[in-house]
Symmetry: C2
Subunit: 493 residues, 2 copies
């Protein structure tokens, strides 16, 4: 029953709430930050799923637990979680722990608001606009639009939806059945979210025409042209090309100028999936890799990857100045976007998106940028390139490492060739045996907790490692460690 006192637990008991949070923050600082980023600690503490279930005691019961038990649970969760901020976590396109970004995230979580109206998110509505403006400027646009999305896959879906809406505004109301069959184009090296998006948006995966990539993983513009003509000949209406700036495995950059020429010629929307490579725009030295991006209609860019802003920080940027984003998505909910508010309702940007409640993702990036400046971030990007280059040169000096190709970006793809396979390259089962090396080494490194690198097969190539140099706190010593550790782990193979 309602009475004048708050419930037991912590609700309405600020002293207990503060004490709990102080304790938890201390645990986070010790276990997740200090130990979690320390090279003398493990990057992960492997447990088999069944054992981990026991250790975690996950069941949700009727009875609550004491503060002491809860603090122990916090320690356990951290202990068995992978330390993605650790200098030997090379497993994904994100890594590292930026203290400024984390500060922004803690503030975000505490303020706990939604990005939809100026009324409840005045700071973040203005901040989102400013951050988007800055990112657009780096693309080369002095005006435009954009939005923060829950990840690059959804950013890519927005691009598809906007492109088809611009071409066929009827689609919003009448659906795809009112439209001719559509076709979109992307290279075989594209991220898998393009096909997922095509399925989700009702286009179907068949609508994705796969364009050839060259030996380095870059889309072949001549084949794009070819595919467009073929699609038209088959009665489909091309509407979008999704180029990739920084492919997932090889880190390749599609030739955007040549692709933009093709798009211009055929009147197609050019989307650039720069989820991974977009942050290279910060570097005066390396941004030429994205030359032509200013000719795109939309760009997806995830600062949570190379800039370590924290999951998730993903933007869709648009060159459009006709309010396309809002026209395409708006539903004019009167309970949220009242038109008789006492302030300029153009500041209620929530109707631009397909979400209703939307997490605030701008503060972490903004605060990090304020602290480190564009120059500081540029240095970080340049440094990852330099470290990747160092790693490549060191690999060439060691006999157990074979590069898949010279990297263009900070994905260093290579095989570790164990002692028993060295000099056997011509032998009939060489590829098959080599392909089995990475899974074995991966198991060993994870079980020891010494480091984490991803591997994958790719086209006709068997499993190779994809080393990702992204963590801003990496040093040459971490590169040397990687090489030494693979040699150690694989010495008996």
């Amino acid at each position: 029953m309602a009475d004048s006192k708050p419930l037991p637990a912590l609700n309405g008991n600020p002293v207990a709430a503060e004490a709990l949070l102080q304790e938890v923050f201390g645990i986070v600082m010790d276990e997740a930050i200090r130990k979690g980023t320390c090279v003398s600690q493990k990057v992960c503490e492997w447990k088999e799923p069944e054992e981990l279930k026991q250790l975690l005691d996950l069941e949700l019961r009727s009875q609550g637990e004491s503060q002491e038990q809860i603090l122990e649970r916090c320690r356990t969760v951290i202990r068995y979680s992978v330390k993605t901020g650790h200098p030997r976590f090379f497993n994904q396109l994100f890594s590292g722990l930026d203290a400024h970004a984390l500060a922004g995230r803690i503030i975000t979580e505490t303020l706990n608001t939604s990005q939809y109206t100026y009324e409840i998110a005045p700071v973040f509505v203005l901040m989102e606009e400013e951050v988007l403006k800055k990112l657009r400027a780096l693309v080369g646009w002095s005006s435009g639009d954009g939005v923060f999305c829950p990840g690059g896959s959804i950013s890519n879906m927005y691009a598809m939806n906007l492109a088809r809406y611009r071409r066929f505004p009827d689609c919003k109301q009448r659906g795809l059945r009112a439209l001719p069959p559509l076709a979109l184009f992307t290279s075989k090296e594209c991220h898998y979210s393009i096909k997922k998006g095509a399925a989700f948006l009702g286009l179907g995966t068949d609508s994705v025409r796969v364009v050839k990539a060259d030996e380095r993983g870059r889309m072949v513009p001549a084949d794009l042209e070819q595919q467009i003509i073929m699609a038209e000949a088959e009665g489909a209406v091309p509407f979008l090309v999704s180029a990739t700036a920084g492919t997932t495995v090889l880190g390749a950059f599609d030739p955007l100028e040549a692709i933009a020429d093709v798009c211009q010629h055929h009147g197609l929307w050019l989307h650039v999936d720069a989820a991974w490579g977009g942050s290279v725009l910060l570097s005066q030295t390396h941004r030429h890799l994205l030359d032509g991006i200013q000719r795109a209609d939309s760009v997806a860019w995830n600062p949570h990857k190379l800039l370590a802003a924290g999951l998730q920080c993903s933007v869709l940027l648009l060159r459009d100045t006709s309010n396309l984003l809002k026209r395409c998505h708006a539903a004019q909910a009167t309970y949220l976007f009242q038109q008789d508010k006492f302030y300029d309702v153009a500041l209620d940007t929530g109707d631009k998106v397909v979400q209703c409640g939307r997490h605030v993702d701008c503060l972490k990036l903004w605060l990090m940028w304020k602290a480190q400046g564009g120059q500081g971030l540029e240095q970080r990007v340049d440094r990852t390139f330099a470290l990747a280059r160092y790693l490549v040169e060191e690999m060439k000096k060691r006999e157990g490492f074979e590069l898949v190709m010279e990297p263009e970006f900070v994905n260093v793809c290579f095989w570790f060739v164990p002692p028993s396979l060295r000099g056997q390259r011509g032998s009939p089962d060489y590829q098959e045996r080599l392909s089995k090396v990475a899974p074995v080494l991966k198991e060993r490194m994870v079980k020891e907790g010494s480091m984490m690198i991803g591997y994958q097969p790719h086209g006709t190539r068997g499993n190779f490692f994809r080393m990702v140099v992204a963590n801003p706190s990496l040093t040459l010593a971490d590169m040397d460690f990687l090489l030494d550790e693979l040699e150690r782990l694989g010495q008996d193979l």
Copy 2:
């Protein structure tokens, strides 16, 4: 260039990083938590957008800033942000600050991993399954599937995509053009995300057939039946009914048993959008409002709303046991979901979703549940009902308050009738004048920072307030304050 030393800034300088985070945590504790939840402090510090821009100095520059400047920026961001944890923030369907949930969120942000593979999220893969299992059990299912989504709108989209895929698996590959015209059904009181979703998924908003609601905002099953027959007569294929448990404005619960009967008869997927009302399932006393939910095929439920788990915490629950979620969405990316891993790859749940990287949203809810127990959460839910009831009874005692209707849930919809309008109900311009009251009072309360409540027009009704009783730390005094404050703010009207 790469060298053996890390960059200046904080990267690789753990002492500076820790010092910064300690300082920021202190600011968060003082400004966002202590002051932010204190009734003697303002719920918001209103600034006009242009002035706020000046105060925030949002521009992102080349040069970084000193730690002192950054800390001041943190204070400024908090100062001008709305305090959604404040006991006088009644503006949205989320409010309050649960210390356990916040602890879970701080840990989540620090660990910064993605929910896609057991390899990098062992704790959270297992935890997500356990939380989903518990929520499914509350729905009434002993088996099934599910996933955490970035918000209820996207959860609703998943339901639509799954329903059409189950009926027409061809859709994934061949798209909607290969299908007959589809129709889905929802009441006029549904959340606007249903129409947004229909547009995004390529169905078009015309495919949404709007079913009548009764005077309390509940879907009329007889009209649903009628609409289905009509759609079929027009050549469309009905495939989904989206019922609402807890409508956005009125807090109405659609009659699920009767709707389930209709769905069963016509072989339609029943989705229940319980984003708002789902948490009522925790209450033995009130869960009858959702009777029949166990007959649904899918349920969307946002614990970030009534349970104050923190934005975003949203689940889609499924009764399906045929791996529909994965079949519908999987793209089998070989770089992420390698099949030759050393553990059971069924634990790599990321291919069930349309995202790639996915924020960890289970820990905040799990930790809160562990601490407070199902019983503690039940008490909180029951308490919100009791406080809403108290508020309604108090309103009846005061002449300035007119209820829109007796609430079924914790949305209390009412008009504040200012002195000049009392007793004028029959007069010709009464409705028009009454409709102008809420925007004026809203402006006054926001500019004073004393409280925040939402208002909206609704159907033929002019603007009324929607008071939401959700913050777990509310007391009777907060209810009294609301009434007194509206009388004070509106005494001259």
